[in-house]
Structure formats: structure tokens, C-alpha cells
Symmetry: C3
């Protein structure tokens, strides 16, 4: 058996090795292209340019504090923490997505939304940085469906296409259909979720259960339950209010998200099933449901959802579809993003549509009337276009040139990471990963002693 | 002996089991009531309502940046992080307090402070969210005294009464006595501390030392020393400045708290006793004293305490009363909240009274003269009323219907939590808990090897 | 051999013991002096004083939101988190530096920059708190070079001199030479780095490899790779924008830092060497390079560096000089601060000089023209003066009165810390430290079983 194992190891090594040449190559080409494109296209906008003082006088703005920086920077910092906590938290290559994705997102979104036609330059400010973080968040969500099953080079491809498609889809939903989606329920969560699931469907691995031990213990539960929840969740109010209108818009979005995401947990305590073995409180379940609350209120956060409306939204969430999906739909969803992002995102779009439909002129004043149809169209676009996109990208990723791991080597960091003997340079999650293995050793050791 | 143990286990199981039905029931009833009450009473205030733009014009406010959101949101986020870090950090059911408490606090405090008599609605904005977090902080402090000794259903009762009493007491101190208490030394810390201690006194368990091993190693030191300190402490300046006056008030409160909480640690290095075995630096001691500094400056943080005054406040703190209390007063204080919150809170009230007494018209301008008597009365109310309240609530909690654990089962998560075999879905603190047990196994294993 | 070892242990105990008397003595004297100096010198400035409302009317400021607090508090909080995360994160006595250093820095910097000549008082506001944090950051960086090799009393001396020299050097660079250095590339990072390295050079321990096992596994890699990176790095934009000009200055500094520090990681993936054993992705390497990006853009962050300029700065970083330094220059650099702070700081100064040289009147408007010469002079001052200072302080620290550990006792916490048997009261890093030892036990145990 030792012989078979070492033969397997050799094969896997060979299969994985090639990213050691292709990954640096892709990185260098990408980064060089970015610097050139930034040099040609990207400049500061009027609020971050040294000519701000002249702009201020021309626009009759009374104080520096009215610079958009002071409206949005605290929210931006929280969003940025969320994104990068996500990137560093997960076990592997998220940081590649974040690093490359942010640059490409600044360009793609800039061409669609911030292009100054007088000189052909993209003018960026703090709002563009927030939007780039949002765009990357969509790709990180998609990554959650294929985590542990793709190579770093495949991730780069997934990101390159993802950012591009995100910008196009966002342009269609926000600028052509004129739906509004402040917290990105449709644009970020539904897009990211179904994009990832479509790709995961195309990359279905029938023999994946061989490495399911690793999936179960390390990837799914720990990484996402712990880091995901604590950090993502505390900053939901900032996430949903980051790009809403100055003044009451940001204020209301923060209140609604606080109520929907922070306070829906009791419901899920109430969902406890009185079955002999499983009726205790399930921590993961509770934590995920708080997350989903923030997603489901995303679109409607800036509307007059009313405080009780936010509480009600907290009820409509998170059902366990995960095993069903893998069994019957042949979609493997490593981190359960369907329950965490895709479904709540759809609910968020529907809540937005209902809230908009219930809006009367007296509630919103004369200016703010919103068309319900936009939201329905927005959800449809988000779901349909994204499945098409995901399938195409999935097909591309099936090409045998990306250095992805063999089935029985999935969810294992070793092929791609330099793991030192003493676990010294690895982040805590990886340590935990190794710690688990050591613990097994300890426990089996102990068991041996007993016998 | 194995026979006795399994009999005990069976008993405890039985004793604990009932919360599996009562807890969900309480949760569902509570949450339903909340949604109805929110629907009847709670609306956005003028700064978070879509009519803000009209309000702005009516009040001649020049810019959206003067919305209260921009004055308070950064502080709110820090306070919110503190509250929920506390909730997730501790080993068990703090999150229940936070989730239910926040909703009930919004209602109770709203009825007292934010009721619009023209239409009978409570109008909420970001300041209400901060105050609700403060109110919950009081209950979380109280929970610290009984941590590990009460069932989740008892916690719900403790929270329901605690929030209610908090709102009443706050109304008396701030609105009837007209004391000021920006950082909540009296209102939050003294209230929360003595409320918890009074309950703990009523719930005194003479045989608790049977589970003291768990208390010592896991609960007291690690959870509160580490997570408590690092996160609570970094955000003290935000906590104490969150609801002070716009402008110089918030500015001064942040400076005073920074000086009092950050800089008093040297004193405690100086307190090291030159005894052979214990004179090394005690990390817990140092960390707790920094915390207490922030509490002790809470009331006076917005006053003209002067920078040197803040440094002096940092000296007046934290003496080791813990063993004394348990031995002679029959009060078991799991997390040492008397030293961390109750006593520093009293000191904070006294510092506030002295600072107010020292205030002259030239220091505060013509408007800000403060009556010393108010603070003395405030402290008395906080201490006396709260002991009465706590004793009554403690009596209620002694009723044998709440499913609390037996003495020798205290400080153990197992009865209430679904702990998976692989520790997969549990937060890091729980893992640590288990890790400790595994470590014991390893060490005893190792010892066996040596022999 | 056991006999020799126990003799050694006894000697080291004796050698270390004396800080148990001298440390409290130094702390008490220092703290008493601080309170007296604060009483004599430090007052609130006009924005944190109760007379703010009169100042507002006199200056015709339209709203409380224009108080400097609202411009700088969110950035201050981030900087403060960075400083204290650093202090608590590292294994030992950083908190002493932070606690004493902040007070002394408020005084030293106050005398140089915030002295009101009309009444001889230092008037402090939130900007002073940020500058004190920066000043302490310089000392914490210096500490990184000698971590594990000095006693707490030596640290106090290092800090006392370091803060003093920092304030003088800052005064020379910013006020006499008129260079600008918003993010402190020269003033903080180059100063702190070379100050620490000069001291480390003076304290060279030829036999240090005896304790190199501890250095390798615990100190260098884990502490700084994990905590250092995650927290320091997420807050770089706040660090570099905290004290820049209101309005476009803070806005631009945040954008530039975001681009330079967040996005330079791909370059370092590209640096992977295709060598058989080490070509995998090195996490520490990647993480450190992101940090260095933020340092290198510090000086130029507020200038019109342009977005592509920030990306380019991300390329110019972090080469592995560490082993070279120790071997040939006799400088032991525990945490690699030369690569992380000193070198990137020099690059930052050069980038600032180039950006300033490239500035034209049309880019900066009529007011903002910057003299290139200033930066060159600034870098020279930072490097040269600091080596002189560091050597003198190093000589003082060589005096045999400070209770430093023997060579073979370095990097061990035991001499200075009260480590409880159950690891209960120690912060996570220390736990990890002990955990490593336990793991060794477990593994050796397991190995024994195999044989």
C-alpha cells in the first residue's frame, strides 16, 4: 500500500508542479499590463486632486469636511477589512484574487461609471475604491464554491472573467434597468453565488469524497464559521451603507442592516429541532443566519423598509439546501455559498421590489419614487446572465492546462504552499489545519495506549 | 465509580434537558412580541428618514455631513464591535443577551427618551443604536458574575429584567437627578456590576469548587484577559465619547479616556510585590487595570478633567478583592466584574462629582455649570436600587423551573452546546476549551510514558 | 551535562532577578514625573476645550462637524489599533514602551510643535495623540531589532532616549529642513529601523545561536508574519493619511497607500525562484512585501504620485538582506526590521524626492511647490544622526546594570514573566510559544511510540 501511495504522490506532484512556472508568468504579465493601463487611464478625481480647493470654491462648498472622503472613509475601512480578512482568512489563494482583482475592477468599473469623456481618463476617489472592493467580494464569494478544488492559475482566470462580467452585469442592472442595489444583494451576492455555483457545476468531481475528510473538518466549518462570521458580520452596517446617498441614506441603511443582521438570531434558536441527537444549538447555523440577514436586507437597506420590516427580513433566511444540491444537481459547494449568498441575495432583491412597490410619494417625497419592475428585471438579469457566464468560464477552466489538483489531492495545501516543518510562517488557519492532523495523531496515540 | 458517574451524568442530563424545549419557546415568543412592538412603535427619526432633506432646509443646515450619522457612526462601530466581540468571545450564550437585549433596549429606552408625543412613535437614529448597545453592555457585565452557573433561559430572564431596570435607573439618574454620565461609569458599569453581583449572591452555590478546575483554567483568565482586554480596551475612547456633545465634547472625552486607560499601566508594574514566587509581572493584572482606567474616567470624560487629571485617575484602580468577596460575602464572581466594572464605576462617579465640584464658570463658560449633588445622588441610586433589583431578580431565578446546571456541571459547555467530534463548527474559545482537555490528555499521557 | 545546565540556570536566574526591583522603581519614578509634567504643561487645545463654541463663532466656523476631531478620529482609531496590536502582539514588554512612550512623546513633541508661547502650555488635540502614536511606533520598530535580547529596564532606557531623539530629529526634518513626511517613511520608519539596528550592533551577542531555535520558530516568523501583517497592513491607508491636510490631502494619501500596499503582492509572486526546494509561495515573503509597500509610499502619499506611480512603488521593495547583515555586519535583527522598515523608509524618502522634483506648478496649484533638496537632506539626517544616536544609546545599554539575559537565555519569556502552569493568563502568542513546546513533546512522544 505504501508503494501505491508513493506512486500517487508522484503523480500528483507532477500534475501540480506546472503552476510553479505558469503562476509567476501570469502574475508578471498581469501586473505589467495593470501599470500600463493605470498610467494611460487612471487619475485622481476632483475631490482627491490638489485642485480640490478651487473646485470647492467653484461649487460654493463651505468646508473641507464635505469632501466625499469624510462621508465614506469610515465605511470604506470597514469594507476593506472585510475583504482582506476574507482573503487572508481562507486557506489559500484568495489574496491573489484580491490583489489582481482590485486593480482590474478599478479599470473595468471606471470605464463604465467614472470615465471623463473630455480627456478619456478615469477619475477615482474613495467611492471607486469601495466599489472595487465590492466587485472583488463577488469573486471571493464565487471562489467559496470551488475552494480547494482549483489551482491558483484557474483562480486568476476565474477572477479575470469574473471582474469583467461583474462590471458588465452591474452596468446593465444599475444603469440600463435603473434598479438600485446599495448593499449589492443582486449585484454582489446573487451574482457571486451563482457564478461560483455554475463554475462548480462544470467542474464537478465525482470522486471528491476521497478528500472529504479535509473538507469537512477544516475548510467548510472552521474557516467560514469563525473568521467569516465574526468579521464580515460586525461590519455589515458599513457594507450596506458605504455607497448609499449622503445624509439620511447612509443613516437609514446602517439602521436597517443593524436590525436585520444583528437581531435575527433568536429566530434560529427557535428553529431548533427537538430531535434526540441534534436539537442542541448549532453555532454554525446561528452564525450563518446572521450573515444571511445582512445579505437579504442589502438591496432594501437604503429604502424606507421601516425598523419592523428589517426584523421581518431576518426571518426569511437560510435553509439547509447544501446536501440536496450536491446529491441531485451535481454541484459541489465547498463553503455553502448558496445558502449564505446566492439565496439571500435573491431574497434581498425580492424584498427590494416589495419595499419599492409599497413606497408612496408621501413616504419618499417627490423625488424618490422607485419602479418595482426594475428589481424584478434586475434579479432575472443577475441570475440568468450569470449562469450563462459561469458555464462558459467553467468550460474554459476544464481545459487541462491550468494545473489543478487531482481529486484525491483536493483540499490539501501542500501542493501549492511552502509549509515549513515547524509551522512557523503560516497563518493561523493553516496552523489549525496542521494542528488537526497533529491532534489526530495525539488521539490515536492515546487510543493505542488504552488498548 | 463508573457506575456513580453515569448515574450523575443521567441526572444532569435530565436537569439540563428541559431548556431544549423552553429556550426555543421563549425565543419565539419574545421575537414575535418584538416584531409587533416594533411595528406599533418604532420609526426612523428625522435624520434617518427620507424627509431629512426637508428637515435640513427647515433647520437651515448647510450640508449632509451635519447629519448625526457622521458625528457618531465611527464611534458606534467601535462600540458595536466591543459589544459583539464580548458576545461571541465568551463561551456561551452572550449572543442571546445581545440579540434579544438590543431589541428590548431600543423599545424601553425609546419610551423613556425618544418618544414623539405628537404621534406616539419612538423615533430612532444612530444615537439610539449606541444607547441600546450600552444598555446591553450593562447586562453582559452582569452576566460576567454568573457565567457558567446559569442556564440560557435564566439568562433570558436576567436580560429581560436587566434591560427594563436599566432603562428605569438611567431615566432616574439622567433625567430626574440630572447627573451626567457620558461613559456610563454609574449607569452602565456600577449598575451592571452590582446587578450581577446581587444575583450571584442570591444564586450562591456552596459546592461550586467541584467544578473550579474549569473555572480557573478556561473561563476566568483566558477568555476575559485576552479577548476582553484587547478589544474592549482599544475602543474605550470611542465608548466614552460616543454620546457626548458634538464638537469639543466628543474630542475631550476621547483624549481623557486615551490618557486614563492607555497610560495607567506603568503604575501597576510598580505595584509588583517583591515576594519570591509572585513578583513577576502578572499579565492579567496589568490588562485588567487598563480596562478599569477607562471605566473610572467614564463619567468625567466629557468634563474639563485636564490631561493630568486623567493620568491621576489611572492610579486609583483595581485592587484584588475577589477571594475576599467569595469567602466572606458569599458572592461568587466568575469573571471578577467587581474589580473590573463595579468598583471602577463607583470611582468614576466620585471622580465626576469632584470634577464637577472643581468646575468654575470660567472653565465651562456660562452654560455648563454642573451640580455636584447630582453625582452623589446618582451613585447612591445606582448602587442601592440595583441591589434591591438584583435580589428580586435573583429570587425569581432561584425558582426551579429554569433548567440550570447542577453544581458539579457548572462551567461545562456540553449540556447546552452541540460540540462536534472534530471541533469543527465551534468558535475558537470553545476549541480552546476542548484543547485544554486534550492537552491534559497529552500531558498525562506523557507522564505515563515517563514512569 | 545536567549538572552544567542547572548551574547555568542558576546563574541566569541571578542575572535576571534584579529587574524585579529596578523595573518597579523605574516605573514609579517615571510615572510620577509624568503626572507632574502634565500638570505643569499640558492643557486641551481650542478644539477640545469647552470654549470651542466661542472659538467657532470667532473663526466663523459654521458647524461642530468642522472640529478637527471629525477629520481625524477614524484615522486615529486605526493608528491606535495598530500601535497597541503591535504592543500586545509581540511577546513581551512592548506595552511598557507604549504606555510610557506615549506620555513622554506628548510632552516632547508638544514642546517642539504645540507650545503656546502666551502661557507656556502645550495645547493638545487629536492630532497630538496621533503624533504620539507615531512617535511610539518608531520605538516599537527599533525594539523589533533587539526583541528577546534586552531586559525590560533596558527597554525603558531605549524608549526614553528614543522618544527624545525622535522629537529632535522630527523637528529638524520637518521644521528646519522643511521636508514633508506625512506617512513617516523617513521620520518613523528610517529612524526607528536604523536606531534599532545601531543598538543591536552595539549589543552584538556572538553566542546567540544557542537560543536560535526559539528565535526561528516563535519570534520572527509567527508573531510578525501573522499579527504584524494582518493588522498593520489593513490600516496603512489610515496611518499614511492621519495627519495630512484636510480634504484632498487625506483623500489622496488613502488612495495612494491603498494602491501601493494592497496591490504589490503579485510582483512578489512573480519573484518566486524556480529552485527545486524553495519555489513554492512563501507566505511571510508575500506578507512582508505588502507591509513594505505602505512604508515606501509614506512620504509621497499626500503628493500627486498618481495611481500608476503608487503601483510602481509597490515594485521597489523587500530584498532578503537579513542573513547577510548578521554574517558580515555583526548586526542581529530579530524581526527583520531592516527589510520591513529601514530600507522601505529610505525608498520612501527617495520616492518623495522624485515626486517633488516632478511636481510642476500646474499640478499643485500656486501654493504647493515642494523643494526636492529638502527630502535628500531629510533622508541624510534620518540615517546619519540616527546611527550616531543609536551607537551612543547602545553604549549606555551595554553597562552591566540593566539586568539583561545571558546569551543562552534569550528569546525565553520565563525569566521576566509569570507563566502559570495552565497557560491561563497569557496572551495567545505566549500560548503558541508554549504550545510549540508541548507539540514537540507530543511529536517526540509519537516518535518514541514508533520505535
Amino acid at each position: 500500500m505504501g508503494c501505491v501511495q508513493s506512486f500517487r504522490d508522484m503523480c500528483d506532484r507532477t500534475k501540480n508542479t506546472n503552476v510553479r512556472f505558469s503562476l509567476p508568468a501570469v502574475c508578471v504579465v498581469w501586473q505589467t499590463a495593470m501599470i500600463i493601463l493605470f498610467g494611460v487611464f487612471i487619475r485622481y478625481n476632483e475631490e482627491s486632486d490638489t485642485h480640490w480647493i478651487e473646485h470647492r470654491k467653484a461649487k460654493n462648498i463651505s468646508s473641507d469636511i464635505e469632501n466625499d472622503f469624510y462621508f465614506r472613509y469610515p465605511s470604506f475601512q470597514d469594507v476593506h477589512v472585510m475583504i482582506f480578512r476574507y482573503s487572508f482568512g481562507a486557506v489559500g489563494f484568495n489574496f491573489l484574487i484580491a490583489a489582481f482583482g482590485l486593480q482590474w475592477a478599478l479599470l473595468m468599473q471606471g470605464w463604465f461609471h467614472s470615465l471623463d469623456y473630455t480627456d478619456g481618463k478615469i477619475k477615482i476617489g474613495v467611492e471607486n475604491l469601495i466599489n472595487a472592493d465590492f466587485c472583488v467580494a463577488g469573486c471571493l464569494i464565487a471562489y467559496g464554491a470551488v475552494l480547494g478544488k482549483v489551482s491558483p492559475v484557474q483562480l486568476m482566470v476565474l477572477t479575470l472573467f469574473g471582474i469583467t462580467l461583474f462590471a458588465v452585469e452591474e452596468f446593465i442592472i444599475l444603469d440600463l434597468i435603473h434598479a438600485r442595489d446599495a448593499g449589492g444583494s443582486m449585484v454582489i451576492h446573487t451574482f457571486g453565488g451563482y457564478y461560483g455555483l455554475a463554475i462548480s457545476w462544470m467542474l464537478y468531481r465525482p470522486n471528491l469524497d476521497q478528500s472529504s475528510r479535509l473538507q469537512g473538518s477544516v475548510y467548510h466549518s472552521d474557516v467560514f464559521a469563525m473568521i467569516g462570521t465574526l468579521f464580515l458580520w460586525m461590519f455589515w452596517p458599513s457594507f450596506n451603507s458605504a455607497i448609499t446617498d449622503h445624509g439620511d441614506g447612509q443613516h437609514r441603511a446602517a439602521i436597517n442592516t443593524y436590525l436585520a443582521s444583528g437581531l435575527d438570531r433568536p429566530h434560529h434558536c427557535g428553529r431548533l429541532q427537538p430531535l434526540p441527537e441534534t436539537w442542541e444549538i448549532d453555532m454554525v447555523h446561528i452564525q450563518n443566519s446572521t450573515l444571511a440577514g445582512g445579505v437579504a436586507v442589502g438591496t432594501a437597506a437604503e429604502f424606507m423598509l421601516m425598523p419592523y420590516g428589517s426584523l421581518i427580513v431576518g426571518f426569511l433566511l437560510w435553509h439547509r439546501l447544501h446536501p440536496f444540491m450536491e446529491k441531485y444537481l451535481k454541484i459541489q459547494d465547498t463553503c455553502g455559498i448558496h445558502n449564505l449568498h446566492a439565496m439571500p441575495g435573491v431574497i434581498g432583491g425580492i424584498v427590494g421590489a416589495i419595499t419599492a412597490a409599497a413606497a408612496s410619494e408621501s413616504v419618499y417625497g417627490t423625488e424618490g419614487l422607485i419602479n418595482t419592475f426594475d428589481f424584478e428585471a434586475g434579479i432575472c438579469v443577475a441570475i440568468c446572465s450569470v449562469w450563462g457566464d459561469g458555464i462558459i468560464v467553467g468550460c474554459i477552466l476544464r481545459l487541462p492546462i491550468w494545473g489543478d489538483a487531482a481529486d484525491d489531492n483536493c483540499f490539501d495545501d501542500e501542493p501549492y504552499w511552502e509549509l515549513p516543518e515547524d509551522e512557523e510562517s503560516i497563518p493561523p488557519i493553516l496552523q489549525y489545519n496542521n494542528h488537526m492532523r497533529n491532534k489526530d495523531v495525539v488521539e490515536s496515540n492515546f487510543t493505542m495506549e488504552q488498548n
